[in-house]
Amino acid sequence: MGVDAIRAAFEDGAAFIPYLAAGDPGGDLSNSTPESAMAATADYVSALVDAGADVVELGLPFSEPIADGPTIQSATVRALQAGMTPPRYLELVESLDVDVPIVAMTYYNPIYRYGERDGVGPFVEAAAAAGVDGLIIPDLPVEESAPLERACREHDVALIFIAAPTTREDRLRAIMQRGTGYLYVQARLGTTGASRSVSDQTKHTLDRIAAYEASERHARLPKAVGFGISTGEQAATVVGAGADGVIVGSALVDIVAEGEDVVASLEELGRELKAGARAGFDRRTQ
């Protein structure tokens, strides 16, 4: 596993990457224990993998999720209330019985504070051991990422950066050069959250990245688009516009929050999304 496994997950050109908040017990907190919440997450992950997920992003909840919209904020609150902690998170990852890469998405402070000494080393080491293949840290721009890059390189964990619609050439260059695994292309400005339409910005950003890639010689990084994708049709549009995969979070988290037939519903939406991504790929390569 590790960085290569993530690259491999993009082989069919239309990766489906679901996001779930780890340990989110869903709507009804009253009967949940940390163990039951973790077990539920494990079931949901399996369902999504069954539906065709190529990579799974698992959120490690942080109390100040500044990059997240209301849906994922609420999931974060629920997960924390249900008892999710970094050690339990790693336990959960270790317990997963799936053969797709797992990417941990969290903020800088919990990984900085993990373990006996300050600094990101202890977390990355433990995460790699538990089976985490990559990291996404939305509040970590390239300016601050050197220590984490070092630790990730040492433990063969991908460090996935985000490219935003506001990211200009010089920053894009740094992000492309320093990121590993895949490039998280933020579909639109704002925070995470499902939206009705995929913005023109997405296509524009993908084109800019493609142009940049064409002008450089280093290895190509898969581009997965996230922020606001919730339907198969959107997935198709995005992949059709040049993405190598789609990241879907809030729409799935909503299903967990509602708490009814979660496994079946996740599987259903997962299939739709994977199918959509494939359809988009077909459209583009026809």
Binding site: E64, I66, T85, P86, P138, D139, E144, L189
Partner: protein, 414 residues
């Protein structure tokens, strides 16, 4: 490594989407603020004088000086337009946003003082403005909510978490993540990603540089102690900055001791906001600094009777100066702050903000070993706190408080 490092503290821990705006701001800070391009700093100084009421006086406090047998001087930021030092920064940033061509202002607020300062600056400069404020603070600081609305700004209550400053900052960052191209985020203290801690300190440093000049003019010498309350730390850094190189001057940062200094890291609750005294290193709201957090790195809910100090972080430069020993951080608890509020109101005829009252609680505790002369910044006035103080004093049966029972129940209709 990014700019804006203070020893181990500082940095720019923000989403990529914001980085271009942060870079733009860094550039504007360099040009307009540090290099006075287009006469920006002159424009600001003129507005601070005529709109804001600068310079603020340095007042000799007759009764406190008597009481503590030390010459106590008050730097009267409470006289600034809006009633707190916050305008120095708010006006600076809103004006800077205008020079940068931004079209909209967003801000967070705790006590509402930064919020009102920002809305006043926005009205003055004709800028649309939206302020995020925790629901709990909306309820604690109602007059300031009214003032912001009266200035024509939107006020958006934040219902997440305990509904205080921390949540308001997070929410404002979320707004900014979506609006960054046209919008400037006016952070209210020396916190956040670089260049904010520098920028805010620079705008607030007028407090200390005036005070230092006034000391030299009035006393012919520097004071022995300089005291300021610290929440995020803009009042403190603004007060200290001019004195940093004066080694004979002791600097005291008075933090909110809340109910108690005992922190329950298991339960994730800090019954205080004394971040320098009880916090640990972490990354919050864009910078590496001292933070109130539990063993898992989750930010704790802080507590203070004063909204403006009720914050789980602190400016990175303060964290650095405290670590270096250049300043001493000392907590003063809720009750001592309330008592000091009443003391200043009764002895000096100055009703301070509850935030400010903490500094005077420190004076009561330590007034006798601060040397011959102390300067204390009266960071704000207490009009916003009247209801809270009455309620909290009554709850505690505080001996320093006047009896208000005659007036607190409504006597006949209006």
């Amino acid at each position: 490594m990014s700019g804006g490092q203070y020893g181990r503290f500082g940095g720019q821990y923000v989403p990529e989407a914001l980085m271009p705006a942060i870079d733009e701001l860094t550039d504007a800070y360099q040009r307009y603020v540090l290099e006075n391009e287009a006469g920006f700093m002159d424009d600001l100084a003129e507005r601070l004088e005529t709109f804001g009421g600068r310079p603020t006086p340095l007042q000799y406090a007759d009764q406190l000086s008597d009481r503590y047998d030390i010459d106590v001087y008050l730097k009267r930021e409470d006289l600034l337009h809006g009633g707190a030092h916050k305008l120095n920064n708010a006006l600076g940033q809103v004006l800077l946003a205008r020079y940068m061509g931004k079209e909209r202002i967003i801000a967070e607020t705790g006590a509402g003082q930064h919020g009102t300062a920002t809305t006043m600056a926005c009205a003055h400069l004709g800028m649309p403005c939206e302020v995020y404020m925790g629901r709990r603070d909306v309820n604690r600081q109602r007059p300031n909510v009214f003032r912001m609305r009266l200035n024509g700004a939107s006020v958006t209550p934040v219902d997440i978490g305990r509904g205080t400053l921390k949540e308001a900052i997070s929410e404002t960052m979320r707004d900014w993540a979506g609006s960054v191209e046209t919008t400037h985020y006016v952070i209210g203290s020396v916190v956040g990603p670089h260049p904010y801690p520098d920028l805010v300190r620079e705008f607030q440093s007028v407090i200390g540089s005036e005070a230092r000049d006034q000391c030299l003019e009035k006393l012919g010498e520097l004071p022995d102690a300089v005291v300021a309350c610290a929440g995020g730390g803009s009042n403190a850094m603004g007060t200290y900055d001019a004195f940093l190189e004066d080694e004979s001057v002791d600097l005291y940062a008075v933090e909110a001791g809340g109910d108690s200094l005992e922190i329950d890291r298991e339960a994730g609750v800090a019954p205080n906001s004394a971040t320098l005294s009880t916090g640990t290193e972490g990354v919050l709201h864009g910078s590496r600094t001292k933070v109130l957090q539990d063993d898992d790195g989750q930010i704790m809910e802080s507590h203070s009777v004063s909204s403006g100090l009720d914050y789980a972080g602190v400016g990175p430069e303060l964290a650095h100066l405290a670590e270096e020993g250049r300043l001493a951080a000392t907590p003063v608890d809720d009750e001592a702050a309330l008592a000091a509020f009443h003391r200043l109101s009764q002895l000096e005829g100055i009703i301070p903000a509850l935030e400010t009252a903490h500094a005077f609680g420190f004076l009561e505790e330590r007034g006798d070993d601060l040397g011959d002369t102390a300067v204390i910044t009266v960071s704000g006035r207490g009009d916003k706190d009247l209801e809270s103080v009455i309620e909290e004093s009554f709850k505690r049966d505080l001996p320093e408080a006047p009896d208000l029972s005659l007036f607190t129940t409504d006597q006949g209709g209006r």
